[in-house]
């Protein structure tokens, strides 16, 4: 009996310590996060939206941070629609969109930062050298399903399609005059990188992505190729000369009253100081 009690008692301080530690831990955790956010950053710029624009803006953000140490630039992806929505609702200081504003979005203002296009991509080993507009429509609506129709291998075509909310999808549907319900995709991908990885890993795949992102990947050894569209090669040069038929603008989006730092950041992204970064990403500078 005595022994029983004594073990009980010896447990209690342990319990007390454990309990207090848990409690203190919780308090410390909340305390810490507040303290650190106050110390290190005075200004925080949040940008969300297009996965095409995001990598470029992240690099521009780094350069901006080095010029203005008091600013932290935070870039998140999620598609152009999210960019416009977040900017409108104040969840982000600046939205990113790889398209023009829609008629329903005219309450916002857009700032052009670069030009890009949308290119049709295949695996490098695919022998097909060109597809007409009509053929692409027939493939995406499931009317042609095998590469041998185009004298390719006897393999079914793996159709890579974009997830909703991405402007690349909206522009693709608009350019080819398709409805999303008509498209019979084999695979649905989120951002450009995922699409490029998938096509690079699948010799039977057909997809469409940002020309800048595809050209960048191709230059860095990814096994894919860009198909010409309506006889014009899908290159940055063709986009620059406005010859490529499927171009698009890359924009930053704000409300009509952007914050002071948002204005400064936008001015910086539109300046010649970042032209080298724009070219690094194989987009076309606005100057």
């Amino acid at each position: 009996m005595f022994n029983f009690f004594s073990t009980q008692n010896s447990l209690r301080p342990g319990m007390l310590v454990l309990g207090l530690m848990l409690f203190a831990g919780m308090i410390l955790l909340t305390g810490c996060s507040e303290a650190s956010s106050q110390q290190t950053t005075q200004v925080k710029l949040v940008l969300t939206g297009s996965s095409t624009v995001a990598p470029l803006v992240a690099e521009i953000g780094k350069r901006f941070e080095s010029l203005h140490p008091e600013v932290r630039v935070n870039v998140q992806t999620g598609g152009s629609s999210r960019g416009v929505r977040d900017a409108r609702e104040g969840l982000a200081d600046i939205g990113m969109a790889s398209r023009d504003l829609k008629p329903s979005e005219q309450d916002m203002q857009s700032f052009l930062i670069a030009h890009d296009g949308i290119g049709i991509i295949l695996h490098k080993s695919n022998s097909v050298a060109a597809l007409t507009r009509q053929q692409i429509i027939q493939i995406y609506t499931g009317k042609i399903t095998n590469w041998k129709t185009f004298n390719g291998k006897d393999r079914s075509i793996v159709i890579v399609h974009k997830a909703e909310g991405h402007s690349t999808l909206e522009l693709f549907l608009k350019y080819f005059k398709l409805k999303n319900t008509q498209v019979k995709p084999s695979v649905i991908i989120g951002d450009n990188e995922q699409g490029i990885k998938f096509v690079a890993g699948n010799p039977d795949a057909l997809g469409y992505v940002s020309i800048g992102a595809a050209e960048y990947a191709e230059k860095h050894g990814t096994p894919l190729k860009l198909l010409p569209l309506e006889g014009v090669p899908a290159t940055t040069a063709a986009v620059q000369q406005k010859r490529y038929p499927f171009g698009r603008p890359l924009n930053l989006i704000t409300t009509n009253q952007p914050s002071e730092w948002a204005v400064r950041f936008i001015a910086f992204t539109q300046s010649t100081e970042v032209d080298d970064l724009v070219k690094d990403f194989h987009y076309v500078p606005i100057h």
Partner: protein
């Protein structure tokens, strides 16, 4: 007397933070549930719970001809991927557990266990990335497109396998040693001991392992998003792509508005109910097992 009172005080003081912590975690579940219902309410009331299942397709943003909110295909996608993964991981995990406990030579057992523990710690996105660049092209070579239900099952199965194995080993280890000694004394073979004595007694622990890891498989998002192809459809075979409810939320939450957004929260509710059902089933199997074994 005084001392006893003081120690009682101390014990109360020690209990309080524990009680608060316990209360908080319980409260969080209720708060999340309440939040989900509140956010999903527009969809539940305007679209109706029935239409979430009866609408043929998922097309919440379609302007012409009206939006549709059918989640059955994605719900099945989730069930197939998670179910397939656990069907794969449970027997293999059990085998690994038995191996570590009984068959592995002593010099191998301990390092092997560390390897399994390491495997359990690999982040899911790494599994997803590996699946996307290695496994998916591999499957695609035989049966395009490669991104498929099968890829999801294999990746998820691999992800939950180490934890299933470790939990299985713990369950096996918890069977009293006397049982095994008694069986040996009766002259039973090793296979017999495992089959007739060990496994029935370890069953509650094994079921817990299966239930917990199925729950994890249902909730997994990133890896599944990267390898499953994300086409909303009823898969005709394991080589067809599917979209799971979690992948759908991840793909669309960024830009969803109004009813669409509410419907996504609705799918979150469905996921949570799925886990509740799972825990309930696990609980009943366990209760039944314990009942039959005294």
């Amino acid at each position: 007397m005084k001392q006893r009172q003081a120690s009682r005080w101390k014990s109360q003081l020690g209990k309080l933070p524990l009680q608060i912590s316990a209360l908080l975690s319980g409260l969080i579940v209720i708060l999340i549930l309440g939040f989900l219902i509140q956010q999903a309410w527009p969809a539940l009331s305007e679209v109706g719970v029935l239409r979430l299942f009866s609408d043929g397709t998922w097309n919440p943003t379609e302007q012409v001809g009206g939006a549709s909110f059918g989640m059955t295909a994605m719900l099945l996608g989730t069930v197939f991927v998670a179910g397939g993964a656990i069907l794969l991981a449970a027997p293999v995990g059990l085998a690994i557990g038995l191996f570590m406990r009984f068959y592995a030579p002593r010099w191998l057992a301990s390092p092997y266990r560390h390897v399994i523990q390491l495997l359990a710690g690999i982040p899911s996105v790494v599994f997803g990335l590996w699946g996307a660049v290695v496994l998916v092209p591999l499957i695609g070579r035989y049966q395009p497109p490669g991104a498929s239900l099968l890829a999801g099952i294999l990746i998820l199965g691999m992800m939950i396998l180490p934890t299933v194995a470790l939990l299985a080993e713990t369950a096996i280890a918890s069977v009293p040693a006397e049982y095994i000694r008694a069986s040996v004394a009766l002259g039973m073979t090793r296979t017999h001991i495992i089959g007739k004595v060990l496994l029935p007694n370890a069953m509650p622990g094994l079921m817990t392992a299966v239930v917990l890891q199925t729950g994890r498989a249902i909730g997994e998002t990133m890896a599944v998003l990267m390898v499953c192809g994300n086409v909303v459809q009823f898969p005709g075979s394991v080589f067809d792509p599917v979209r799971t409810l979690t992948a759908n939320i991840a793909l669309q939450m960024g830009f969803a508005l109004d009813l669409h957004r509410a419907a996504l929260f609705g799918s979150g509710l469905i996921l949570m109910s799925l886990v509740v059902v799972l825990v309930w089933i696990g609980h009943h199997i366990q209760a039944a097992q314990e009942g039959s074994h005294g």
